[in-house]
Every structure is written in C-alpha cells, then in structure tokens.
Amino acid sequence: MSRLQEHPIVDFKRGKEVTIYFNGKPIKAYEGETVAAALYAAGIRVFSRSFRFHRPRGFFCAIGKCSACMMEVDGIPNVRICKVYVRDGMQIRTQNAYPSAENDALAIFDRIIDRFFPHGSHYKKFTSSKTLREIATKQMRKIAGIGEFPKALPKEEADYEEINADIAIVGGGPAGLSAAIYAGRLGAKVVLMDENPYLGGQLIKQTHRFFGSGEHYAGTRGIRIAEILTKEVKEIENVDVRTETKVFGIYGKTVAAVEKDRKLLKVNAKKIVIATGAYERTLIFENNDLPGVYGAGGVQTLMNVYGVKPGNRGLIVGSGNVGLILSYQLLQAGVDVAAIVEAMPFVGGYFVHAAKVRRLGVPIYTRHTILKALGEKKVERAIIVELDENWRPIEGTEKEIECDFICVAVGLSPAHELLYQAGCEMKFVPELGGLVPVRNKYGETTAEGVYVAGDVAGIEEATAAMMEGRIAGLDAAIKLGYGDEEAVKLRDKIVGELEEFRRGPFGERILRGLEKVVR
C-alpha cells in the first residue's frame, strides 16, 4: 500500500474507513480522501482510455482541470474523480473502454489507426456515396463519445443564492486571502470564493519554509501560513468565506459559481479581485501522456495533502524552485529521486534549493532534457539526452533512467480565462509566464473595477502574491470609500515594499515583464 503512515512535516488525519467499488471491485478508502487518491493508493494507475487512440491515461493534474480521471460515479458520467470525496458504497466505473480501462480491447487502435484512419480521415474517407457516408458516420458516432448518457438523476437537492457584495474575490490562495483580509479590515463587504475545501491555495501543499520578508511570514512553512491567513480571514465577520465554491463565469460585474456541487451562487459585486493562480505547464515528449507522467502540483497534492506516495523512484524534469522543492519533499516522503534534468545550462530556481538536494546525493543534469517515457501502461523507464547550445538533442548522449514516475516541473502559466471573460486587455508576456492583463500598480486591469493579484498576474513568489493581494484589497476598498489616509499610506507602503522585493537578480526578469503590462 502506498499510503504514507508517517511524514516528518504533515500529520495525515485519515477519516473513517469506507469501501468504494471500482468496476465492481471493492477498494478500501478513508473519508476525506478523493476517489483518485484512494484508487492510486490501491495501486490502480490506468484511470481512462484516450478518445481516439485508446491509450492508457491516469492521475495527472489532481485539481479537476484535465480529462484524464473522468469516470462514471453512481450513474453520472464524466465525473473528475480527483475532485470527488469518497463515500461508502460509491460505484465507480471507467468509461469508453471494454471490458475496462485497465484491459481495453480498443487499445489496438493505438497501433493500427495511423494506417487506416490518419488524422482528418473522418472527413475525407468513405465520401464517394451517400450510403457509404451514412454508415461511416454511424460507426464514428459509436466510437466517439466518452461517458454514457446518465443512468440516474443527481442525488443532492439543488439550491440557489444571490448575494450583493462590495468586493467579490475569486481564489482563496495567498493573494486572495490577503486581499480579503485587508479589504475586510477596512469594513468592505467581501465574498471570498475558493474551489477547495481548504483555504490557502498552493500554500497547503508547500511543506517547506517560505522565503521573503518576516512581515510576510518568511521562515514559516507554507502550510502554517495557510493556517494563519485562514484564521485571520475568519475573524472578520464582513468577509463571507465560501469554500468548495467553483467560479465558472464572470458576466459583467456578476460572478457565477457552483457551491458544494449543488448550489448556484450569483454574486453581484462592485469590484472583483481575480486571484486564481496558475496552471502547470505540460511538456511535449514521446509518450508524455503515459500514466506516471505527472505535473509537479499533482504529485504535491497526492503526497502532501492526501499522504499517498506517487511511486518509489522518480525523475524530475525542470530545476525551477518547484522542481527542486518537490525533489526535497519526495525525499522527505521516503521516495527516491533518480535525477533532476534541466534544459538550461544552469539551475533555474534558487541555488540553496539545489544545494539542499545535491548534498543528499540527487544528481542535477544541466543542459539535459527528457526524450521519451517508456512503459506499457505506466512509466517504467525514461530516456534523457544532452542538449547543444541551440537546445537540440545531441546524438549518442541518450541515458536510460530507472524510474516509476516522472514529474514535469517546467513552469506555470497564469489562469487567464476569467480575465478574458471580464474583458481585460491581455498581453502575451513570456517573462511573466504567459497571458497576463494590462493593469496599474494597484492591480486594477483595463476592465473598470476588476483587479488581479498573485500568479494570475504573473508567475512570482508567494510573498509577492500576498503583497499584490493586500494592495488590490486595499485599493478596491478605498475606491469604494472605505478606510482613511492610513489605509492609503499602508497601500503605498506595500507598493514600495513590492518594488524593493523585486529589485534582486531574480526580480529582473519580472520587472522586464511588468514594463510591458503596468501602466
């Protein structure tokens, strides 16, 4: 069993034991675990089969944003089991695979489909006669489609609530929490929404001590900072905190969300702070879809939140802070780290993070990248290769790495969707990680009254996210008439601190990016 019984930093509080049924087979699980974590702990790696080639797909993002873990749960199709908590007697079935995702007869497609149905042939083959086209279309329909039409109505009773608020804050991570605390303290009526059952966003997975200044909890573990900020926000009664609340759309100044998968929440706000963080970047290499290839965040969630070991020996791709910290966290969970590969000629993250793992014997291959993942239904080995100056693999430098999982930690991209919906002017800024909004120094975007803070404004440290959150929260409340000159002074003091914080070499790249978007 790959459940961690003990961990140096995190105490895993396992709930009552329950039994869930996976394709009819009973599986032991503990309340508080997601179905995905429970199946993974039971050694199940293949969660679904891909749409066209029927390749095996498994646990990947762990935050309900990809399609790899969609299954039928109690008769309801296309449910992402990484966001569903175990309940006793649950019936879980894999989809679009016969007899099951583990052993799928249609897996043959992966070998033959290129010869008979190269891409685009659904439009270009069997077109000569009407009958031929109709037969082909009927067959295509049968093969297409993922889940089956629902066999049951939802169990829960739906509900609806409409709230009018001064400030709606989307995302309860370091940025959103800071915005809610500082706006709430000025008296503004705030609604803070986060899709997880816990507040703190990324912090909850960061078991290491944080960098930055003491004033922003530096030297404290990420998970402790989450506890501190959560306590602070819950003490302010004019801040209405809604967890397990997924915001799905912004329509003008209306924020629409689904709370606890059963209540439709409509928040009409005067100001909106978008603090939805970022997604993991994926990497394109051969068999990058094999179960066992994970984003770093997915592994951190599985290991640091649900206490399930991702495997026994991992390869880490990318030596930014995330890759380096993750390697250290894997060692803490008793998981071996075969190596860290980095395409650049030098380590991407802070040197001290590299030194931490180097002195524990983890090799770091700079100027290297992953060429392919190997394995029948899950990762069994990986091939890494050396790169020349213009980033091209050098023939003959291939090395085989024994590993049973691969973590891709090659950076994050801001979650831009809601900003486009709100009508913000956006720009593609590589230094900030991707698509970010134009805004002023208080974080207000070109969409009047819509603010942005944290990684969604540009990929940076959690300390910067907290500062940006405080500034946005203060400015939004001030513009609504809350607070006095003290509040204005505090806001401008933090703006100064943020500029100071970004003045080091690591801030150079951020400043270059900000020049393109801050007006």
Binding site: I284, K377, Y420
Partner: protein, 90 residues
Amino acid sequence: MKSRKIVCRCEDITEEEIIHAIEEGYDDIESLKRYTGATTGACQGKGCLMHILRILSQKTGKSPEEIGITTQRPPVNPVPLYVLAEGDKE
C-alpha cells in the same frame, strides 16, 4: 504502445498532426482549433492552448500576440445542469 508526442490530451492530437493540419491551410488558431478539435475537449484548452500557440508561432513565423488565442468562453469548468436550472427565476 506506439511512441507519440501528445499535444492535446483530451482530443488525442499529436504534435505531428497539428503541424500537418497547419500545412493543409488551417493556419489561423480558430480554424486549427475547429479542424483538429484541439482545445475543444473536456479541459477546454488548459493543457494544450499554449502549445498550439507555440507550434503555430514556429510554423507561421507570427508572434503569439499576432496569432491571438481562441475566444475564452464561460464556463471555466463544467457546470451541472441541475444546479443551473435552480437559477431560472421565471
């Protein structure tokens, strides 16, 4: 298992197929999206939009800014109908 470089995990599109579609003339992001189906699957582009942008930029020589991205529509994540129905206050 055949060796493939998967760009769009939800619609199962390889890098080779994306490049092939661009060469066939679907060389603006909206046509490429519709012809290959990339970014239209269950994750609505969260895993592949940035790669599509990169590949298009490399193939057409245009900057990501010129290429632009597909229209970002609600909902950001799938929304249950039975919950939405509760909001119809006719």
